[in-house]
């Protein structure tokens, strides 16, 4: 096993992890603020991929798909929050979870009606096709691009949360929505925005992932489970945890694919079981919240 192959596999693990980071971040942001686990998150990832494909075919440009799909799906997410989830805030935490699960069902079936049961190819944009020589090996340009985009989104997100007034409200609201209300912040509006943001992130993940695979209506189910694994390992509601655990899982999966391919889909669940045994609150989670 030569070093070049390992480096390449390591890198494709980072690219895979970058997608997971997008999905898990969306899940974690929504949970941290609203206390809601969005079980439709995987389905919205899939919807994001289809929306990207649709817009890209319509306009003939991948870039429009990448730009418009997350915004459109994010707006759709805000609609979901407003119409379906908001009535449930005063109820048990299980209710939004059950509802979003049913919503996932409806979304998958709607996509089947609109686009058929079969998977569809999502061509890599020609500008990003091919490989680049980085000195230590050849890497697919598209994957480098994905890692770059995710890095930019992470920096923007960090700046948005740490340096803006909206970020301040979001962070404070995650700690104590009651006090925020007393201080005169319209928490409902903030939650609406946050839900839209979280859904938009997973939709972006879907668009970015699509050219590395094909799109099919079932693609969300595995992604949802993976995102759960990432958030459990990283610590629920911890954004740093989502990033670290997402990359960790991506690398773990692609390294196992190299050495023991039949274990590749299993290894992340085994890792989660291990984390649960040693540190039930997750790597970056606060004890007591788990």
């Amino acid at each position: 096993m030569d070093a070049e192959l390992i480096a390449m596999q390591l890198f494709s693990g980072v690219a895979l992890g970058a997608i997971l980071v997008m999905v898990a971040l969306g899940l974690s942001i929504i949970f941290g603020m609203l206390g809601v686990v969005n079980f439709a998150h995987g389905a919205l990832f899939m919807v994001g991929a289809y929306a990207g494909l649709y817009v890209a075919t319509l306009t003939g440009s991948f870039w429009w798909g990448m730009l418009i799909a997350p915004l459109a799906v994010g707006a759709f997410g805000m609609l979901i929050e407003r119409v379906l989830i908001r009535p449930l805030y005063k109820r048990s935490v299980d209710d939004p979870l059950l509802l979003t699960f049913g919503l996932g069902y409806v979304l998958v079936e709607s996509v089947r009606i609109g686009f058929g049961n079969e998977g569809m190819p999502f061509p890599t944009p020609p500008e990003l096709a091919g490989v680049a020589d980085l000195g230590i090996g050849y890497f697919p340009i598209y994957r480098l691009f994905v890692v770059g985009v995710v890095a930019v989104v992470l920096v923007l997100l960090w700046l948005g949360l740490e340096k803006t007034r909206f970020g301040l409200i979001v962070r404070a609201g995650a700690r104590d929505p009651q006090i925020m209300r007393v201080l005169g912040v319209d928490v409902a509006k903030v939650w609406l925005m946050v839900f839209g943001l979280g859904v938009g992130l997973t939709a972006l993940g879907g668009v970015l992932a699509a050219p590395m695979r094909s799109v099919d209506p079932e693609m969300g189910a595995l992604v949802l489970a993976e995102a759960f694994v990432v958030t459990v390992i990283g610590g629920m509601g911890s954004l740093v945890g989502a990033v670290v655990a997402g990359l960790l899982i991506g690398i773990a999966v692609s390294m196992t694919a190299l050495f023991a391919p039949e274990m590749a889909t299993i290894v992340m669940f085994a890792l989660m079981a291990l984390v649960l045994l040693i540190r039930p609150q997750g790597l970056f989670g606060k004890p007591g919240r788990a």
């Binding site: 949970f31 206390g35 049913g102 069902y105 629920m236």
Partner: protein, 332 residues
């Protein structure tokens, strides 16, 4: 200890005014369920539907023990249903077990799996619990998918058809749907009796106490963790039994029995019927499968209708069909 158990049971029985009919209904719940199950193949449009209601109803009953009565929302119960089915199929096909030994064998495997998953997942609470059970069930799914040589991978498990069985010396044609239904029903009836006993026992009161207020149950001196693991295992055991019946019924085990869709279907059925009520799960399974049957005549996309109905139930009728009916009756 006994005094507190009594008071919990009394509180659960509701206000004194309604105790009469509620208590009578509760006392007769097992014979009543069995009576309805006996009539099912003659009332429903098809016998295939009756067997499905029987099997999925039983899964939902097992699941309800955990979700409805202990208040733990598991999203991974397909794992135990599927494990029971696969183990029974493998027991007959590979180990050469007779059909009646395959049932306890499947329950043993499914129950053991539930015990391990329970031990791991109860380390988390609330929403985390749902996520962890879902992820662990996916682990089981992918393991079955990868263990191609044993489980048949994507094609499912085949090659263990039971065509004819001997019941106390009597040969029974197991390919006759009605005879098969009543053989399988006997096991489901036994499981219903068992679940009813568990719910009526002091342990049943303890798990309901955990559902109502975990901290207080702990403060009362109950071992919450142990009760949760026991409830989880019992629940998995009943689901595994349903899985073995499913394997005997179909004579093949599709990989889909382990999938997240099956887990979700179990949750949906339980909630539609009414979580935390004895009859709810069967009513939910009946409603779900009837809905599937009817809508599938119109469109292959029946899931969109079922999903929408489920969303409406979560929003407006979270107690489900039976739970709402009970509340309405009590409110009069």
């Amino acid at each position: 200890m006994t005094a507190s158990v009594h008071s919990v049971a009394q509180v659960m029985a509701g206000p004194t005014g309604q105790r009469g009919w509620r208590a009578r209904l509760a006392a007769w719940r097992v014979p009543l369920s069995i009576l309805v199950l006996c009539l099912l193949p003659w009332v429903l449009p098809s016998q295939a539907l009756a067997v499905n209601v029987l099997i999925y109803g039983l899964v939902a009953v097992g699941y309800n023990l955990l979700f409805g009565y202990t208040g733990m929302l598991s999203f991974g119960h397909a794992a135990f249903f599927g494990a029971g089915a696969y183990a029974a199929g493998l027991g007959i096909g590979q180990l050469g077990l007779p059909w009646y030994a395959a049932i306890p064998f499947g329950m043993l495997v499914g129950g053991a799996l539930a015990f391990v998953v329970g031990l791991l997942s109860i380390r988390t609470r609330g929403i985390y619990f749902s996520m962890v059970t879902l992820a662990l069930a996916q682990l089981v799914y992918y393991t079955a998918l990868q263990a191609n040589s044993l489980t048949g991978g994507e094609n499912g498990l085949r090659g263990f058809t039971v065509a004819r069985i001997e019941l106390f010396g009597w040969p029974v044609d197991f390919l006759d749907p009605i005879k098969k239904y009543y053989v399988l029903m006997t096991f489901a009836a036994a499981a219903l009796w068992f679940v009813s006993r568990v719910l009526g026992s002091p342990f049943g009161a303890v798990i309901e106490a955990i559902r109502e207020n975990e901290t207080r149950a702990r403060a009362c001196g109950y071992d919450v963790e142990r009760s949760k693991v026991i409830a989880f295992t019992l629940s998995g055991l009943v689901c595994a039994l349903a899985g073995t019946l499913f394997a005997l019924h179909l004579a093949i085990v599709p990989l889909d029995t382990l999938s997240i869709q099956t887990s979700g279907m179990i949750v949906m059925m339980t909630l539609l019927g009414g979580a935390g009520s004895f009859f709810g799960p069967f009513i939910g399974a009946l409603a779900f499968l009837l809905m599937e049957d009817v809508v599938a005549l119109w469109t292959p996309h029946w899931q969109i209708v079922v999903g929408t109905v489920f969303i409406l139930f979560v929003l407006f009728l979270p107690k489900g069909i039976w739970g709402t009916a009970l509340a309405w009756r009590a409110g009069r």
